[in-house]
């Protein structure tokens, strides 16, 4: 499938636990939108570091999402809580350089799990559903 020309550049870090088939499910979007959407699966959203988020902005992402599992559903208990704190810290660093904190956003997958990363991303970015 030919990649569409898109007007946005989005990076999505996501907890791999929300979608056991993420490797397959994100491929369609990656093919469809080329480099406009970049996915970075994490073993747990709690493994995110502020530097990952800032590097994504530095690399040109207009918007960076961190997708965590639903509240209370973290396989490692507090990963999604930590993820939110790390993102908030990175937002503070972004504000220091005069960029809007909203360019980094955390979003919780709506339960129950599993959730398709393809469907979640399309809903998040307002993209048409896959054929």
């Amino acid at each position: 499938m030919e990649s569409r020309t898109t007007r946005f550049s989005t990076t999505i870090f996501f907890c791999r636990q929300i979608d056991p088939d993420e490797n397959t499910n994100r491929r369609a979007l990656e093919k469809e939108y080329g480099g406009a959407i970049r996915f970075f699966p994490l073993p747990c959203s709690g493994r995110i570091e502020a530097q990952h988020l800032l590097k994504a902005i530095e690399a040109g992402a207009e918007k960076v999402y961190l997708v965590t599992c639903p509240e209370g559903a973290c396989r490692y208990c507090e990963g999604n809580v930590r993820a939110k704190k790390r993102l908030e810290y990175a937002q503070g660093l972004l504000k220091e350089v005069g960029l809007p904190a909203e360019r980094l956003q955390v979003t919780r997958a709506a339960g129950p799990l599993p959730v398709s990363i393809d469907a979640l991303t399309r809903a998040l970015l307002g993209l048409p559903k896959s054929a």
Binding site: Q51, I57, E58, E96
Partner: protein
């Protein structure tokens, strides 16, 4: 360990504003433990500086490097071969690290990016507590291993002051009363009798007002 906090971004930015090639040097020891100046923090600051420079259309080169220890010559010497390729070194080391680098690199402008704060312990994840003032005359054994100089807001050797409430310090309710901790620990270790002793005031003249303190060990010298 030595604890530190990063300076505000604007202050760092202003201090290197006239330079075009900046070497950012972290330290992998104390300031890495307190998440102020390790490899991750170097990467974060470099990222911020690059984003900021890009927004302002400035062409500034930022290079990252982290030494195992920024206060020891053999480690600082890793910077020597590359130092002259940069206009300035932005150090994420403690005050000792900055000064040690300056000693090794006399012709290089070295700018501190951290405010060094204390000798501290990692109390829990994300919490660092000052518990030593480096007074040079340790009396922890007399005070159940809790330093009254550092952890009692009034620095009392002959406490408690009587002002604590529910085990909290009256001067800083966020902190436990150091003397409450001392009493509890003395009791738990069967040493309550040591409370009967009257401790003379610390003799600060031993250590203060004579310039930098220095330890010389002939057996360790070259």
């Amino acid at each position: 360990m030595i604890s530190a906090e990063r300076k505000p971004f604007e202050e760092i930015k202003a201090s290197i504003s006239r330079y075009k090639k900046v070497l950012i040097v972290g330290c992998g020891t104390c300031v890495a433990e307190c998440a102020a100046g390790g490899e991750k923090e170097v990467a974060l600051l470099a990222s911020q500086l690059r984003i900021d420079a890009s927004r302002e259309g400035s062409k500034i080169e930022f290079k990252e490097m982290t030494l195992d220890r920024q206060c020891v010559y053999e480690f600082i010497d890793q910077v020597t071969p590359v130092a002259d390729k940069y206009d300035v070194i932005l150090s994420l080391g403690c005050g000792a690290g900055v000064q040690a680098m300056a000693e090794v690199l006399p012709k290089v402008h070295i700018v501190p990016a951290l405010n060094t704060t204390a000798i501290a312990e990692t109390r829990e994840a994300g919490v660092w507590l000052e518990d030593c003032r480096g007074c040079g005359d340790c009396k922890l054994d007399s005070f159940a291993d809790i330093c009254p100089i550092t952890r009692c807001a009034k620095g009392l050797f002959n406490g408690p002051c009587g002002g604590s409430k529910e085990g909290r310090c009256e001067a800083d309710p966020d902190s436990p009363c150091a003397w409450q901790l001392i009493l509890t620990r003395l009791e738990e270790t069967g040493r309550l009798a040591s409370l009967d002793e009257i401790y003379p005031p610390a003799n600060w003249a031993k250590q203060q007002g004579k310039g930098p303190r220095k330890i010389v060990r002939e057996d360790q010298r070259a």
